[in-house]
């Protein structure tokens, strides 16, 4: 899944699950779109209702307005004759926003280990994402090591170690309260000594408004770069899809402080639609790497704009 040719059946299964999960709970756009325009004609009222649906999906006011104004232009040109045309227009607009951020993560080996630094707010799912990512990387034939950089939260190290055991991957850890930069630096040395391909570094969750803790992350980044200028090769923000507009602030602040190179969106299996992804793609040009739609490791897959939009626009039971 990292730039290699993947098995097509695995991918299809994921799209099906994505479609089913995203539409679990209340069925979303397809069903609703048909209901919006019972007579089949599209007018301003239908667009108003659609606007509400987008807002309820956490797309945010600004991005919703962009999408709706695209559609209003089409409506004025009399291009939106029926529900199918509306769906196509909406699809084009959503893809237009998301396609630029669809850039899968590619692992290169520039001599030392490829370092992925995971960051995010408390409870976003960093440790769990590392567990799943480690499993994927191993399946793809990379050697992997984990660095227990969350030295603050009680039992965070043990949680990562549990994932390490599950995937048979080494975990470098120190005692609770240790300097995260030191832990990750040691892990880097260990990874290089053992000729490891990918080092996944966990960090403690922190709110973007806690300046001191954000500085701590900047320090981690500096210290890692001391031995290998190109490291960390990936600074990945883990975002909880059930979050609202603050996720946009999160992305902006973390990007400002660290220069994000990727985003992973977790917990898309709730009834939240993850519309915040659109708001972020609309504002920031940071690649979206993976989306997670469930507890199992295979429920995390590379982000594909088309599939995601399809999943939003097609209900679980139906085909495309």
């Amino acid at each position: 899944m990292f730039g290699k040719k993947e098995k097509p059946e695995k991918r299809d299964g994921f799209i099906k699950r994505l479609r089913a999960r995203i539409n679990r709970g209340d069925s979303w756009l397809t069903y609703d779109l048909a209901n919006l325009a019972p007579g089949g004609t599209i007018d301003e009222d239908v667009l108003d209702e659609l606007e509400a649906l987008l807002v309820m999906a956490d797309v945010g006011v600004e991005t919703t307005e962009r999408i709706i104004s695209d559609l209003q232009k089409s409506l004025a040109r009399k291009e939106l004759k029926d529900v199918a045309a509306l769906r196509n227009g909406l699809r084009a607009s959503l893809c237009g926003i998301l396609a630029p951020v669809e850039k899968p993560l590619s692992i290169e080996k520039p001599g030392g280990p490829f370092v992925i630094l995971m960051v995010g707010v408390n409870g976003a799912g960093k440790t769990t994402t590392i567990g799943k990512l480690a499993r994927h990387l191993k399946d793809d034939g990379y050697s992997v090591m984990l660095a227990a950089g969350d030295t603050f939260r009680a039992a965070a190290v043990e949680q990562l170690q549990a994932w390490g055991e599950r995937n048979d991957v080494a975990v470098i850890a120190q005692q609770a309260g240790a300097d995260p930069a030191a832990v990750i630096f040691d892990a880097w040395e260990a990874a290089r000594a053992r000729n490891i391909d990918v080092l996944l570094a966990d960090t403690a969750g922190r709110l973007q408004s806690q300046t001191g803790l954000m500085d701590e992350l900047a320090k981690v980044k500096r210290v890692v770069a001391r031995r290998d200028e190109s490291a960390p090769h990936e600074i990945m923000l883990v975002l909880d899809a059930s979050q609202g507009q603050n996720a946009l602030v999160q992305a902006e602040k973390f990007h400002e402080a660290l220069g994000l190179t990727g985003i992973t969106v977790t917990k898309l299996d709730g009834s939240a639609k993850g519309g915040i992804l659109l708001a972020i793609a609309n504002r920031l040009n940071v690649p979206v790497r993976f989306i997670g739609i469930g507890e199992a490791a295979e429920d995390m897959q590379p982000f594909a704009a088309d599939d995601f939009v399809d999943a939003l626009l097609t209900s679980g039971g139906q085909g495309k």
């Binding site: 799912g125 709110l207 806690q210 979050q243 609202g244 603050n246």
Partner: protein, 453 residues
């Protein structure tokens, strides 16, 4: 939190000037602004709609009093409505039952249940002198049980050990037995995070709920949660008949509109807010104050209450006695004050609660009064001899130089501290009696000592 919401509301209200009466046409734009502000604050759309409609009905035809501008009148209506939704008074936990009283925490993954369990235990131990036992029935997330066990040790609560291979209901039965046997007053049950649409997991928590028979069932929700939080809250409320909500991570910059949504759909009060990384960063939720905070009136009351708790009574009384006797406020008293400020979780936490005019940048203000600065000031005082602390006037040029060297600061820093102390001393003389509480109240702006503004 809530900053931008208040900003937008006051902007919207300002546009409403020079009109004697609120009418459909002159409030239309303002209400649109309010609607957008609430949506951007992640208040759920259906909740926003009903809220706006209520405001519109109440505002129409409202005579604007002479002392108010129309904008202010509208803000007052919005404030009243906010208070009405959030509840008009803070709702303490109901612990009046035969012990062990059970408190159950439930919510989505990553909401902060385990941390809240520990903070709640700490609060009940420290403030209500309860004997608290913690138990985790999270058999799903790796190391969740260990996390709670570690935190229980930190806050001085009992912990009922559980095993990831055990059935959650069995753990609850065992914990109830153990709590009875060890005479615990309160048993806090931490559950695994789950999605409200995962019927298997919801069934599990319903069974845990039945086995535990909790007096309080609290929904733990992330203040950054989005529109979907209402669905989660509704589902949890239907399955578990919640008794309240805990709003976590409220110290961030999320606007926290979820507070409004959850209260509206569950009809149950918000009991507490998590406001920081520290284990005692859990605060009672005061709806009236929160509504004021949304509208930018600050939260002075909350601060005063916090100060009453944190400021050691003994020291305050000692100081009061000393002042009464007519002896001055010396530098070791200033050091006590500074140390108490640090204990309150840093000035940033305090500043958050103070009303800020829109043109003040809270970040810059917090920076000018940060913990590091206070720590340095304490270092300066520590570098003085006891007699210098008692009689600051004796500190001459060469003493200043020695103190500056001793504390690793510049002479100017020593001068600044001495000047600040002099100002405080003058103010203290005005305080005839009473402790910190009166002292704080007597100060303009809600209680920052001079030199910190």
């Amino acid at each position: 939190m809530f900053d931008n919401l208040s900003g937008r509301l006051s902007d919207a209200a300002r546009q409403l000037t020079g009109k004697g009466r609120l009418t459909e046409s002159n409030i239309k734009d303002t209400l649109r602004q309010v609607r957008l502000a609430l949506l951007e604050a992640d208040v759920a759309l259906p909740v926003v709609k009903t809220f706006i409609e209520r405001i519109r009905v109440r505002a129409l035809g409202e005579e604007v009093g002479k002392s108010l501008t129309p904008g202010q009148a509208l803000v007052r209506i919005i404030h009243d409505e906010l208070v009405q939704i959030l509840g008009s008074e803070s709702a303490p936990l109901d612990l009046r039952a035969q012990p062990p009283v059970v408190i159950l925490l439930a919510g989505l993954q990553g909401a902060g249940k385990t941390t809240t369990a520990a903070k709640l235990a700490k609060r009940l131990i420290d403030r209500e002198k309860k004997k608290v036992m913690l138990v985790s029935v999270d058999v799903h997330r790796p190391a969740a049980i260990l996390q709670l066990q570690t935190l229980a040790g930190e806050v001085g609560a009992l912990h009922c050990a559980s095993d990831a291979g055990e059935k959650p209901t069995r753990i609850v039965d065992r914990a109830l037995d153990e709590a009875r046997r060890s005479h615990a007053d309160v048993l806090i049950v931490d559950t695994a995070g789950r999605l409200h649409i995962d019927s298997g997991m919801m069934q599990e928590v319903v069974e845990v709920h039945e086995a535990a028979q909790p007096l309080e069932t609290l929904f733990v929700v992330d203040s950054m949660a989005g529109q979907d939080a209402v669905n989660a809250a509704t589902a949890f409320n239907e399955s578990l008949s919640l008794t309240g909500t805990v709003l976590t991570k409220a110290d961030g910059d999320a606007k926290g509109g979820v507070a409004l949504s959850v209260v509206e759909v569950t009809g149950k009060p918000i009991r507490f807010m998590g406001i920081g990384e520290k284990i005692d960063a859990l605060e009672a939720f005061h709806p009236d104050r929160m509504a004021s905070r949304i509208l930018g009136m600050g939260d002075v009351l909350s601060l005063v209450e916090e100060i009453e708790h944190t400021v050691s009574k003994e020291k305050t009384e000692k100081l009061a006695k000393k002042l009464k006797k007519g002896r001055g406020f010396d530098l070791s008293d200033l050091r006590d004050q500074l140390e108490q400020m640090m204990n309150m979780g840093g000035l940033a936490t305090m500043l958050d609660k103070l009303p800020m005019p829109g043109n003040v940048n809270p970040a810059a203000l917090a920076d000018s009064a940060n913990e590091q600065k206070i720590r340095r000031q304490i270092a300066i005082i520590n570098s003085m001899t006891p007699s210098e602390r008692r009689f600051p006037k004796t500190i001459n040029g060469s003493r200043k130089k020695r103190i500056a060297n001793g504390s690793g600061q510049q002479i100017q820093d020593v001068n600044r501290l001495l000047k600040q102390h002099l100002q405080m001393e003058r103010m203290m003389k005005k305080v005839s009696r009473g402790g910190m509480k009166k002292f704080m109240r007597g100060m303009p702006g809600g209680g920052m000592p001079p030199g910190f503004r």
